[in-house]
Amino acid sequence: MATLFRRRAQRTHVERVRHRRHEGFLRYANFRWAKISGMLCLLIVASYALVDVTPRPNGGSWYGYTLGTIGAALILWLTALGYRKRRMTSDYWSLKAWTSAHVYLGLSLIVIGTWHTGFQLGWNVHTLTWALMMLVILSGLYGVIVYATLPAVLSNNREQMTQMQMLEAIRAFDRQLHAAAQPLTAEDTAPVLAALDEDPFAGGIRARLTGRYPRCATAAALRALAGSHAADAEARGKVVGLLRQKEAALARLRRHLRLRALLEIWVYVHVPLSFALIVALSAHIVSVFFYW
């Protein structure tokens, strides 16, 4: 192409892969990886029944070794997702495709790993490896479920507001409360001031995940003012109105934080367990060679 920018254009004119529609990772390429993973599992289950391993199917047979090696390779590859996700190389790849393959091939480990053991589970480091693997898979499954269900809820809850805007809204109510609380009696002012001091992020992990804040100072202030009989009824009415609005804004922010936490928390189980799994797997492999 001969335009002003001829040279550069030739180098960068690339085939861009375009997807016209939003296609989620679960449906990616018409369930390609689900199909591949399903076939793999079927193949293993069928061959396990057909192949006659003597004396009995076991991780130590050639068949067991094969499945074990595939399993271990898969685990390392699955762990590499954390790296792929953050390494922005410029060549063509899509994290959606990776996640899709991760989920479905990860699930196939249930069959690969279990059939590898020849169903010989006991109380040893080998079974620890298997158990860790199953836990990682379970946590992953939880992840997929929240990924599939919570985004829409998150979107509905925020109603086009950003987290910053939610915080801003709360601060704005605080400012108005500060002014409106001036005429209140000292007794009525105290709970309002406590509500102003409240940090919307406080409350700890429990509150974050359940969305329940039993010690919420705003709610407490509302209760206190409702029970108050001081002579400042008009000003109190105004403050109560503002407290209600602040409570609603806080509730939105808390739901937002809760949903975000639920979408993230499982990764803090999934990833450390993955590393524990790799350690246990190494121990398993070393031990089987040692006792051979």
Partner: protein, 812 residues
């Protein structure tokens, strides 16, 4: 009245100052008249500490004053020294209000009533103009200001902002920053904020809801007193506390003042400049115009012109312009050897669109252009390639491939590539050199400037464009001659967003071609308007009624501000009659559209909700201004887990700064339009970039090449708020050392604190414009899309997104 000076220079910006310094050096009697009490007011008003850039780097500076990139303060300091060292005579607070007389004895009257007599005048007043002032009693009080340099200067005050444009809103938001504890009121004479950007309006409304700003509509200032302001409101007068009034009422462009001296402009448009000779002389002998006012907004150009103009006035006609060397390189690689001057004349004689261009303008255009030799048969560009520059044929001829193996010649002197000028979209056909040829390639911006400045060029380009556009649309052996009946009656109509061009049920048989912008087609089905189709620029509509003779069967309205070309039904029929293939092709197109309408109508009865959703989604997308997008980021919030990996990926593929804000932006039915560049068909951001560094790249991306001077014009011009002014953060440790050792801030844009703490000693952060470049040059394509783990993020054009295929799938 004092004795006449040889030259009076009005305006002490870089252009005027440099002129005055040259005059002083040459020993000419002179005076530099400056409105304010300091030199160079435009630069004086830059933000504190702004890094001023010295582009274009390849141009040498020729001035008696120094200039190199550096902070605003350093540059102003150096100029003060240079003005003194050159013994420039400056008259401060000398705002010129009137110029009379003629060459040899101009009478220059200032606002304070003084008169200066000068033989020559150099007008270098820039383009900033004067801010409109408040008109109510008390408007001369000192607490009324017309600009906010730094919101931090205001703390704990009652501030009233008057004016509802972007400048006013931005100032109000700035001083309303919570930490400053100001009490801010903004006044708007009308009901809504129609003149401001949507982003600013929504920020303001939010600040209003939060109580940070008191928004008073249909309210104006009535009386200004120290500490108090009386307002005229719909419910009567009201007196509020007010320590500072920020008046942002727009400014009067200096054009009227310039014209009052008798100086002619090149045309009525906003883009027009004063008509100038090669020596910068206007149509009034003895008055010269230089600098931004002459259409040269870069400081270096301004300073060079200041030097040159005084040399010219002093009779030095042998002076070669400072850009001679740059022009010479443009002509260097051609088979013929000619001097720069000969080349410029050659082009003006041989190319139709350059016929009316002055030698001075010609130099300017050539600097933004390229002249290249193409051996016979070489491809100039290919069909469907994005590209927006305009080509003119200086020697030889070009061949357009209208169908495989079928070519049509374009003769010497004519142009091609003009479609890109108007719609900024893909090339419509492949073009080759028909013989050994020389083509001039003018960048889109330079071409638009040419059209603004030279009406003759504009007429030629518009006529040719229309002919070609029609040939494109109605293929099949149509020739320019056949078009005559249609084109002679054609009319270009501007339609503002949302306005209908054709209304369902009306009679009428005119045919319309979308020249720029885009249209949506709607039909009333089951009692509500249902979206049928999106028509991008280059499509046509209205042909159904011509063929069938019936009433309009759908409404077509502008999705964004657009231009359509109206062709009379009679002319169109005559054209169809002349060429039977054209008729057949048009009938086929009509049948296809009718079938699609039929499909949607049939679905509406059985799948009402799917059709309604499709239709509502389409209106949402249009409301978000995506009608003018060519490629927009859309996020499906059924899938988005909020991990912000898109933002991180963008930052990590682009100097550590993210070019999108995922969470911000509007959402409808879980479809979210984040804040990210849409690569508009007509990028607003390009409109006013002094170094002209914003371009459209080969994949349709709107990007900035190096050389941004950080003026922020593009940021203000983009209606979608997607441009940030930021300085590049320092490089961070690699990913592995973060993963394994926890070093550095991790993936994504580092926090401002980290950036500040890790900025290398002595490195001055330069804030320049930062925006999405559609991951230009990255082989894998848009990083934001690739990095989304769930597939929530996609980049599409509206026509791709709103295809009927979508509806078919949803309904199934």
């Amino acid at each position: 009245m004092s004795e006449a000076v040889r030259v009076a220079i009005i305006g002490s910006g870089p252009a005027g100052l440099s002129a005055a310094a040259r005059a002083a050096q040459l020993g000419l009697s002179h005076v530099l008249l400056e409105k304010t009490d300091h030199l160079s007011d435009t630069i004086f008003k830059y933000q504190k500490g702004k890094h001023v850039m010295a582009t274009p780097a390849r141009l040498d500076l020729r001035s008696d004053c120094r200039f190199d990139e550096g902070s605003r303060e350093a540059i102003l300091g150096i100029w003060d020294e240079d003005a003194a060292a050159n013994k420039v005579t400056v008259a401060y607070r000398a705002e010129v209000v009137e110029v009379t007389g003629e060459k040899g004895a101009f009478h220059i009257r200032t606002a304070s009533g003084d008169t200066i007599v000068a033989e020559h005048i150099v007008l270098a007043i820039g383009t900033q103009g004067n801010p409109n002032r408040l008109r109510c009693p008390g408007n001369d009080l000192p607490h009324i200001i017309y600009q906010v340099d730094d919101p931090e200067d205001f703390r704990d005050r009652h501030i009233t902002v008057v004016g509802s444009g972007d400048a006013g809103i931005e100032n109000a938001l700035g001083v309303a920053e919570e930490a400053l504890e100001n009490r801010v009121t903004i006044l708007n004479r009308s009901k809504d904020f129609a003149r401001a950007k949507a982003k600013n309006v929504s920020d303001l409304m939010e600040a209003g809801e939060n109580g940070a700003i008191d928004i008073r509509t249909e309210t104006q200032p009535k009386i200004v007193e120290p500490g108090w302001l009386t307002l005229e409101t719909p419910t009567g007068d009201e007196r509020i506390e007010c320590d500072v009034i920020v008046a942002r009422l727009g400014s009067v462009a200096p054009r009227a003042f310039v014209e009052s001296m008798g100086i002619e402009f090149t045309g009525p448009d906003r883009e027009a400049f004063p008509k100038l000779s090669p020596t910068f002389e206007t149509t009034v002998p003895g008055i010269y115009v230089i600098g931004a006012l002459a259409g040269y907004p870069l400081i270096k150009h301004c300073m060079n012109q200041g030097y040159d103009v005084v040399e010219f006035i002093n009779g030095n006609n042998a002076l070669t312009p400072a850009d001679e060397k740059n022009l010479a390189t443009i002509f260097a690689n051609l088979p013929q050897q000619k001097t720069v001057g000969e080349w410029l004349d050659h082009l003006r004689v041989r190319v139709r669109i350059f016929a009316d261009v002055s030698p001075l303008q010609m130099r300017e255009f050539m600097l933004d252009s390229k002249l290249a030799y193409y051996p016979a048969g070489e491809v100039v560009f290919e069909k469907d390639e994005p590209g927006s520059s305009l080509f003119a044929i200086a020697d030889g001829h070009a061949l357009v491939e209208v169908a495989p193996g079928v070519t049509v010649p374009i003769e010497q002197g004519s142009i091609f590539g003009e479609v890109g000028l108007i719609s900024g979209r893909k090339r419509g056909a492949t073009i080759r050199a028909g013989e050994d040829s020389i083509f001039v390639e003018v960048s889109r911006t330079a071409a638009l400037k040419l059209m603004g400045a030279v009406p003759g060029a504009k007429r030629v380009i518009e006529r040719i464009s229309l002919e070609r556009q029609l040939l494109q649309i109605f293929k099949g052996g149509l020739r320019v001659e056949d078009l005559a009946p249609v084109i002679d009656g054609a009319e270009v109509i501007r339609v503002s967003a949302g306005k209908p061009v054709v209304v369902e049920g009306d009679a009428g048989d005119d045919v319309y071609v979308v020249r720029s912008g885009s249209m949506v087609v709607e039909k009333h089905i089951g009692g509500r308007p249902i979206f049928l189709r999106y028509l991008p620029a280059g499509s046509y509509f209205g042909e159904m009624a011509v063929l069938s003779g019936e009433k309009r069967n759908a409404t077509v309205k502008a999705a964004v501000g657009s231009e359509v070309i109206k062709l009379t039904g009679a002319g169109f029929k005559a054209m169809l009659a002349a060429r039977s293939q054209v008729r057949a092709a048009t009938e086929a197109a009509v049948a296809e559209r009718a079938a699609m309408n039929g499909f949607i109508e049939s679905r509406k009865t059985s799948y009402t909700s799917a059709v309604d959703l499709y239709s509502d989604t389409a209106s949402f997308i249009m409301k978000e201004g995506l009608g003018e997008a060519t490629d927009a980021l859309l996020i499906d919030e059924n899938l988005c887990v909020g991990c912000d990996n898109c933002e991180k990926a963008c930052a990590d593929s682009h100097e550590g700064l993210s070019r999108l804000d995922r969470e911000a932006g509007r959402t409808f039915a879980h479809l979210h339009v984040p804040t990210s560049c849409r690569h508009c068909e007509h990028p607003h951001c390009m409109a006013d970039c002094p170094p002209n560094v914003i371009h459209r790249g080969p994949d349709g991306e709107v990007y900035m090449e190096d050389g941004c001077i950080g003026c922020g014009n593009c940021m203000r011009n983009c209606p979608y708020g997607v441009i940030r002014m930021e300085s590049t953060p320092p490089p961070k440790p690699g990913l592995l050392s973060w993963l394994l050792l926890g070093r550095g801030p991790g993936p994504g844009e580092p926090s401002p604190q980290w950036t500040k703490a890790n900025m290398p000693e002595g490195k001055k952060p330069k804030k320049i414009a930062v925006k999405c470049d559609m991951c230009k040059g990255i082989a894998g394509g848009p990083a934001c899309v690739r990095a989304c783990p769930t597939g929530a993020a996609i980049r599409v054009s509206p026509e791709e997104f709103l295809s009927v295929a979508r509806l078919e799938e949803d309904a199934d």
